[in-house]
């Protein structure tokens, strides 16, 4: 084997699963190896030197030893613990949703440096920006773009004509917009307001500094949230578990 037995990588912990008495299987998102899993021995014991560096939502430098099936974590040092997020109930819930979404949409072992940067950037934004919902929408739309599910928002997906500034229809199964004429005979499409579509497009264009200056009403925010979540649910064919919690939390606030 030409690859070295030991290697180091930066990693963000996006999932952890208990194993045996005191061990865990961790899922990391890394800059150059993409999503990888590793075995962390003894991290559930209080005397573990690594446990605090390997908690969910921690950005660490980890040392790994290649194994037959799975790598073993041999060392870990925190780069950024995202303490602001961890000290806030709501922020933690938002961040957990982000990493669950990332985990669902990615495959193991596929390098995606831009996606890694985006994850770091979004976790950073979450702790500094006021409009957390908008950060979430931005991440969702950008993630979809990145993994190849960019919805068509400029043209009607059926007749390929430019969309007019009227209430058009968003159709998850068609992967984009229907003009009012095509939307009428299509099934499972949802109306989207003119302003809603505008913001959706801006989120897709990815210039966050433009988006953050926008004044978005509560109704618009809810409309976008609903449509994007419908699209995500259609793509994944299942519910995102942490979303249920996020909604429960919003209700009790």
């Amino acid at each position: 084997m030409s690859e070295p037995r030991d290697y180091k990588t930066e990693a963000i912990v996006i999932k952890k699963t208990k194993l045996g008495e005191a061990d865990r299987i961790l899922t990391f998102y890394t800059p150059h190896l993409g999503k990888i899993q590793a075995f962390a021995k003894g991290v559930r014991q209080p005397k573990s030197k690594m446990s605090g560096h390997l908690e969910l939502l921690t950005y660490s430098m980890v040392s790994l030893a290649r194994g037959k099936n799975i790598a073993t974590v041999t060392g870990s040092q925190t780069i950024n613990g995202f303490l602001t997020i961890k000290n806030d109930l709501e922020l933690t819930s938002y961040a957990l949703y982000i990493i669950e979404l990332l985990n669902q949409f990615t495959e193991e072992g596929i390098e995606d440096y831009p996606l890694f940067r985006m994850l770091l950037d979004v976790l950073d934004k979450l702790s500094t920006e006021n409009n957390r919902e908008l950060v979430l929408r931005y991440f969702e739309v950008q993630l979809l773009d990145n993994v190849g599910y960019r919805p068509q928002l400029k043209l009607c997906v059926s007749c390929h004509t430019q969309l007019k500034p009227v209430t058009n229809q968003f159709c998850p199964s068609a992967g984009g917009m229907h003009c009012p004429a095509c939307g009428r005979n299509g099934s499972f499409s949802y109306p989207i307001s003119i302003n809603g579509l505008k913001i959706f497009r801006l989120l897709q264009d990815g210039n966050y500094n433009t988006i953050r200056r926008l004044k978005i009403t509560k109704e618009l925010s809810i409309e976008l949230e609903r449509l994007i979540h419908l699209y995500i649910k259609y793509l994944l064919e299942k519910d995102i578990k942490s979303l249920t919690w996020l909604e429960a939390l919003k209700r009790c606030a």
């Binding site: 045996g20 030197k49 605090g52 908690e55 961890k86 109930l89 933690t92 669950e100 249920t244």
Partner: protein, 204 residues
């Protein structure tokens, strides 16, 4: 598990299969335990079997704190000497054993049987939070000590409980999170060190 079924007695096979279902016990350990039991004295094996059956037949959850109990109330809730004005909230019944071993806490407990874990789909209705709130409304409780694990899930549970209990006018405290005894500072992570520094105290 792959055991050659035809080469040994049926009851030996049966026990091996049952043991192999236990956590951390693989086919080889199951085999070793089975043959060990086969060689040990009958009284010992009967005592073990009876212990197993009574574990299931005569235990239930305490109707107050949801600790494991052998009657309606667990030994701690029955004990008249315990301080009834404070409740220590823990994730699992085993945590009570650890707390009691230290011998320093004299109040009551409440076992949640889990922690909020959004990515596993465990929410507020899956653990015993509602029961805790009912307990708090009924009696004169002056303090709730949050002793959930210092993991992300435990912290989240603690923050959520804090948010809903404080409005009831009850003092809510959280176990200190800092450096564990017998470890070395150089290996501590940022979260632990930050909290250890924030919670520093003068030596008495």
């Amino acid at each position: 598990m792959e055991v050659n079924q035809s080469n040994t007695a049926d009851s030996v096979n049966r026990l091996m299969q049952e043991l192999a279902k236990l956590p951390g016990i693989g086919p080889k350990s199951a085999q070793r335990l089975t043959y060990h039991l086969l060689r040990t004295q009958k009284e010992y094996v009967i005592a073990l079997a009876e212990a197993l059956i009574s574990l299931k037949n005569s235990t239930r959850l305490c109707s107050v704190c949801f600790n494991i109990a052998d009657s309606d109330f667990c030994p701690i809730c029955r004990n008249e000497k315990r301080d009834k004005s404070s409740i220590c909230v823990v994730e699992q019944p085993q945590d009570i054993l650890a707390m009691e071993h230290s011998g320093i806490y004299k109040g009551l407990y409440h076992v949640l049987h889990g922690a909020i874990s959004p990515t596993d789909g465990i929410g507020i209705n899956d653990i015993r939070i509602e029961e805790l709130l009912i307990r708090l409304k009924g009696k004169d409780i002056s303090e709730v000590i949050l002793a959930t694990n210092p993991t992300l899930e435990g912290e989240q549970t603690a923050m959520y409980l804090n948010k809903i209990i404080v409005p009831l006018g009850i003092r809510v405290t959280r176990l200190a999170r800092g450096l564990p005894f017998g470890t070395e500072l150089e290996y501590a992570d940022d979260v632990t060190l930050t909290r250890a520094l924030e919670g520093r105290q003068e030596l008495k």
